[in-house]
């Protein structure tokens, strides 16, 4: 059970503090926590810390520290799950989670905590149940407008109507049970994949890992039923390869493992790959899946580096060729290449293949920014640097072909809008919801892949 819960800003200022059992310390534990956290030696984990019979367990979320203390030897999995559920809940009710939203909605947060935890025991964390008890309305910084295009997200999603979903529309609070609900009948469905890749220096692929999630954020009245149709060729497990229902449409979409939220009804999953559910308002992860090793499509990026290193003069020349293997119509956004450099590198001269790119030295690494990379295109950069010779090192030393210490591995970060690496797509999202009045519910379906760790050894 939980003794205390508090939220700290990234600078350690307490935003929320609640004592559930009155059995330990006082408000200064928040300060104590922050002092312990910042004074921790590098090799120790801050996730669980101990001080005088009290355990601090925390997560970092949106720049905030969400911390619980307990004196019992509790289940760490359960507590971490609770903390991330709390983060989602607070996001649901305050619109989004951040220092600003929390401090604007202190009353609401305390009200929520009162209902979620009683004497340190979890009562309920369901957005739906809680709506019955929460009286405070969320304070939002500015009114939301669906067509406020000034805040269009980085990846505007295409739906059947080819509209653009303003990103802020998804970050508004769920409505309390008393307010008028006919206004904002919207539902957001995101298929998000995290890609982690490791490529050896000879170009061979050492590891591919895709972690996928289907996330749903619903503002429809609770209990309205919806059906999510997935790619028909979707199959689970290594052995089963589902025969395509449409011959000639390529192989099946396969994942290794899949798990569903307990709300999901799978009656139609076997036969038609349809998920049925009656989601409560708020955010929900409908499905999680993993895929490793064989990807149906080629990797989005290949990097061809060549390094010339003259140990005598300390001149280091790195030529990087980046090829984007996405389909021609697709593009990658916010591509950044990060290449750690030998210690003490000074001066950089660069020749880049297009003017919108940027490259600079930052924190002992080369940072090459490519705001937009079209599928099928090839970009290159030539970088020249001076590496000071470490004192005491004989200049004849080792052969000059070996790359200098501290160079590489290169890592890429990027976003791939409208692209899933596994190939999984949402075919349709159907609502069995009868709108009150004229307002048809808006449905936003988005697909996105982004890099988790995309590492290329040099």
């Amino acid at each position: 059970m939980i003794s205390q819960f508090f939220i700290l800003s990234s600078k350690g200022d307490p935003l929320i503090y609640k004592d559930f059992r009155g059995d330990s310390g006082g408000r200064d534990v928040a300060e104590l926590f922050y002092r312990k956290l910042t004074g921790l030696p590098g090799d120790e984990s801050p996730v669980v810390m101990h001080h005088e019979g009290r355990h601090f367990i925390h997560i970092r979320h949106s720049g905030l520290y969400l911390v619980v203390t307990t004196s019992e030897n509790v289940s760490p999995f359960g507590l971490l799950e609770l903390l991330s559920r709390l983060a989602t809940l607070l996001g649901d009710y305050c619109g989004s989670l951040g220092e600003g939203t929390i401090s604007r909605n202190v009353a609401l947060v305390y009200e929520l905590l009162d209902e979620v935890l009683d004497y340190g025991y979890v009562q309920t964390t369901s957005t739906e149940m809680l709506r019955n008890f929460i009286q405070t309305e969320a304070v939002v910084s500015k009114p939301f407008s669906l067509f406020d295009l000034s805040s269009v997200g980085l990846f505007g999603a295409e739906t059947q109507q080819s509209k653009v979903a303003p990103s802020s529309a998804a970050s508004r609070p769920v409505l309390s049970s008393r307010s008028d609900q006919s206004q904002k009948n919207e539902v957001f469905l995101d298929v998000v994949e995290r890609l982690s890749v490791l490529i050896a220096s000879n170009g061979s692929l050492l590891k591919v890992d895709v972690q996928g999630e289907i996330r749903l954020k619903s503002f429809l009245p609770s209990g309205s039923e919806m059906r999510i149709g997935l790619t028909e060729e979707f199959c689970v497990g290594k052995s089963e390869l589902r025969v395509s229902l449409f011959p000639g449409y390529g192989p099946g979409i396969r994942v290794d493992e899949v798990s569903f939220h307990s709300f999901v009804n799978l009656d139609e999953f076997e036969s038609h790959r349809i998920l049925r559910l009656q989601p409560p308002q708020g955010e929900l992860t409908v499905m999680r899946y993993q895929l490793s090793d064989d990807l149906p499509s080629p990797l989005p990026f290949r990097l061809f580096p060549s390094v010339q290193w003259d140990r005598g003069s300390g001149r280091l020349q790195v030529y990087l060729k980046l090829r984007c293997d996405l389909p021609l119509k697709s593009q990658a956004l916010n591509v950044r290449l990060h290449l750690p450099l030998p210690r003490g590198v000074i001066s950089l001269s660069q020749e880049l293949s297009s003017p919108e790119q940027k490259a600079e030295l930052a924190e002992g690494a080369l940072r090459w920014d490519l705001p937009r990379v079209q599928g099928g295109s090839q970009l290159s950069g030539l970088f020249q640097m001076d590496v000071p010779r470490p004192p005491g090192l004989p200049s004849h030393g080792l052969s000059t072909s070996a790359p200098p210490l501290g160079l590489g591995p290169a890592s890429l970060s990027f976003e791939l809008p409208r692209h899933t690496c596994s190939g999984l797509q949402v075919r349709f999202l159907r609502l069995a919801f009868r709108p009150c009045g004229n307002a048809n519910p808006h449905k936003w379906v988005r697909h996105l892949s982004h890099s988790d760790a995309y590492v290329i050894r040099i």
């Binding site: 590098g42 090799d43 669980v48 019979g53 309920t124 307990s262 799978l266 993993q290 750690p340 210490l405």
Partner: protein, 691 residues
């Protein structure tokens, strides 16, 4: 199953369980039972639209006061509702009206309404609360039939479906339950199976722990559960949440202690990515060390090698130490990588490589030659105390194989005045004296200078005393110096004793899904000690003193082990084959040459002891099964001169001590002493590990 023996909480637990379980009788695709079983939507079989008109009409009828007044007509309408319900139409819309209909004296009508309520209560939990009122009232009805009916209905209201928090809580509570029979145990396990597939990591881990604890006598069930939890754990290890990832990694390490091969095929999941925080990278490196096997060793070493040149010196050093620990099994490959790293001539790398070499030659003497060849030139890139100590130790112990050893040590002697670390000076004294024994001509002069400096000019008392000690030792004569300083140069058994492989699952099952694996066992011990001592004094000095005493312990151990073979040069032959008959005959014919008692607390695992003894070439002839009281074991060993040692271990739990009786076929007190001390060391180590 007799109701009498059952205690109250157990009944409660079973009821809760019943409520938690997915209802198997409902139609669901078999393969996804676990995830959809608790979904309220499964009751309905009709398309979700339609039946509206019927509901509207029935609603009207139920509300009609004329119908309500006519008992038969009212009952008829209710019957129609039930009929539609049975056909699969969604009748939840009239719940309110039906609850009202339950307040009647007509028992038939009551029964019908209760049937309806039990079906739809899960869909309308808030309205079902209203029904509870009526049910409670009925429970005090004078008519026993009404009372019984109400009670039964209340029990089958499946509205309190437990959410994940409730499930985790109940799973935790169930840990206290002792199944009365094997049959019951497997019934429980079967019922709980679906929780292993839950989407919530807390529930999955809670269920796993319960399985491990309940099946403590069925290792194959435990292994099976750990196989099934592999997927969820690996998913948590690559979770977006770093905190969850860390906790999962700690648990992976815990499992690896018992099942070393468990995650070997998933080794790539534990490769680090540059953006991860330090503490996750360190855990992953530890995991990689533990899951290495013949198939993946090449790839794992390549990966670790990449980390050795990481920008973060701490991480690079951790990777080098990791390669060092893999080197205990895959010596040649690792030594080659480590040697290549020396070529980079980086201080922070060289120092750790040399320390790794020092530890390695002690455990794996076969790599001594390769290490000695790699050492020349290292001294240029070592500045810190630890690295210098390691290098000096290596030069002292293996100096006869390193041509320029005396000259490197001479450099250290020249600069001893400016040396800041007393530990380095101590090491230098010992190393030089050792090298003097094998290469006297080259060392005599500088040894004299060093001793002079240490005795006459040194300010540090420990160094001075050590200098004086060696000086007096030299006065006694060179043979005495040899006897004291020329200890063995390696001890392969130490490594195996340090990490006894494959600890039984039961040794940590109760720690699973708690904070213990997250803190690590040793830190947890200090934490619970601090906690138990009721916050005696400020904590910070306590931890710092612990940290300071940390490195001392292994050093003491080392010396103890060093001294053991010293005194008698005992060499036990491996693979001694002795039949039980022969043992018995010999045992009976001999007298006890030595008997002593060692402290021994609590339970232990005989297999661990047997394995540890095997390592030092003491064979186990026979022993009682685990848990027997008193517990006995018979051991045999033979040294290289043919002297037999027969031993009886007798453990009496009531005295918490282990009695050792040794018999010898030739009376030789010197070797007997050595044998006893070897035995003591092994038993002492096991006792330490256990606690």
């Amino acid at each position: 199953m007799s109701q009498k023996k059952r205690q109250k909480p157990v009944v409660w637990v079973e009821q809760i369980l019943l409520k938690m379980l997915p209802h198997q009788d409902e139609e669901e695709p078999a393969s996804y039972r676990g995830s959809s079983g608790s979904c309220p939507g499964t009751v309905r079989k009709m398309p979700y639209l339609g039946s509206e008109d019927v509901v509207k009409e029935l609603k009207k009828a139920l509300c009609n006061p004329h119908i309500q007044a006519d008992r038969l007509r009212y009952r008829n309408v209710i019957q129609r509702v039930i009929r539609y319900m049975t056909q699969g139409l969604d009748m939840s819309g009239v719940f309110m009206e039906m609850v009202k209909a339950s307040a009647t004296v007509d028992i038939v009508q009551k029964k019908l309404v209760y049937l309806y309520m039990c079906t739809y209560a899960p869909l309308k939990p808030d309205l079902a609360l209203l029904a509870i009122n009526t049910l409670c009232k009925d429970c005090s009805d004078p008519n026993p039939m009404v009372r019984g009916l109400a009670l039964r209905s209340m029990c089958s209201l499946r509205m309190s479906k437990l959410d994940q928090w409730g499930q985790a809580e109940v799973l935790n509570f169930l840990l206290r339950y002792q199944p009365r029979s094997e049959e019951e145990l497997f019934d429980i396990l079967n019922l709980l199976d679906s929780f292993l597939k839950s989407g919530s990591p807390g529930v999955v881990m809670g269920a796993t722990k319960l399985f491990l604890i309940l099946a403590k006598k069925f290792p194959h069930v435990q292994t099976d559960v750990l196989v099934r939890v592999k997927g969820p754990l690996l998913a948590a290890c690559s979770s977006e949440s770093r905190e969850l990832c860390f906790v999962a990694l700690c648990h992976v390490r815990q499992i690896l202690h018992s099942l070393p091969g468990h995650f070997s095929s998933h080794y790539k999941k534990f490769f680090c990515s540059y953006s991860e925080p330090h503490y996750i990278k360190l855990q992953k490196v530890e995991v990689l060390c533990e899951l290495v096997n013949d198939e993946n060793v090449q790839q794992v070493l390549e990966e670790l090698r990449g980390y050795c040149t990481d920008v973060s010196a701490d991480f690079a050093q951790a990777a080098i130490f990791a390669i060092g620990s893999i080197a205990r099994t895959y010596t040649d490959q690792c030594v080659q990588i480590l040697t290549e790293l020396l070529g980079l001539r980086q201080e922070h790398i060289t120092t750790v490589v040399v320390q790794t070499f020092r530890d390695l030659v002690w455990l794996c003497p076969q790599c001594t030659e390769a290490v000695c060849q790699a050492l020349p030139g290292c001294e240029e890139n070592i500045q810190d105390s630890e690295g210098k100590q390691a290098l000096i130790w290596l030069l002292g112990v293996h100096g006869e194989r390193i041509p320029n050893a005396p000259y490197v040590l001479e450099d250290f002697v020249e600069n001893v005045k400016s040396e800041t670390f007393p530990a380095v000076k101590m090491e230098l004294l010992t190393a030089l004296l050792r090298l003097f024994l094998s290469r006297p001509a080259e060392c005599q002069d500088m040894l004299g200078r060093l001793l002079y400096y240490c005795i006459e000019e040194e300010k540090d008392m420990a160094v001075r005393d050590r200098g004086l000690f060696y000086y007096r030792l030299l006065l006694v004569g060179i043979d005495e110096v040899k006897r004291i300083l020329c200890s063995p140069k390696s001890d392969p058994t130490l490594g195996l004793l340090e990490d006894p492989a494959e600890r039984p699952v039961n040794s940590w099952a109760s720690d699973f899904n708690t904070l213990v694996p997250v803190y690590g066992k040793s830190r947890w011990a200090t934490i619970s000690k601090c906690h138990g001592a009721e916050r005696c004094g400020p904590e910070l000095p306590k931890t710092s003193s612990f940290a300071a005493s940390g490195p001392l312990i292994p050093e003491e151990n080392k010396e103890r082990v060093q001294e053991v073979p010293d005194s008698g040069a005992l060499m036990l032959v491996p693979n001694l084959q002795l039949t039980a008959d022969y043992f018995e005959k010999t045992w009976l014919s001999l007298k006890v040459a030595h008997q002593q008692v060692l402290p021994w607390q609590g339970e232990f695992h005989p297999d661990t002891l047997q394995m540890a003894l095997q390592v030092v070439n003491i064979q186990t002839i026979a022993m009682s099964r685990a848990g027997a009281r008193p517990w006995k074991a018979y051991l045999s060993a033979q040294d290289d001169t043919g002297c037999l040692f027969l031993t009886e271990l007798l453990w009496k739990p009531e005295n918490s001590e282990m009695q050792i009786s040794v018999k010898q076929n030739e009376t030789r007190t010197e070797t007997l002493k050595s044998f006893i001390s070897v035995l003591e060391t092994v038993i002492g180590t096991i006792e330490e590990i256990k606690s």
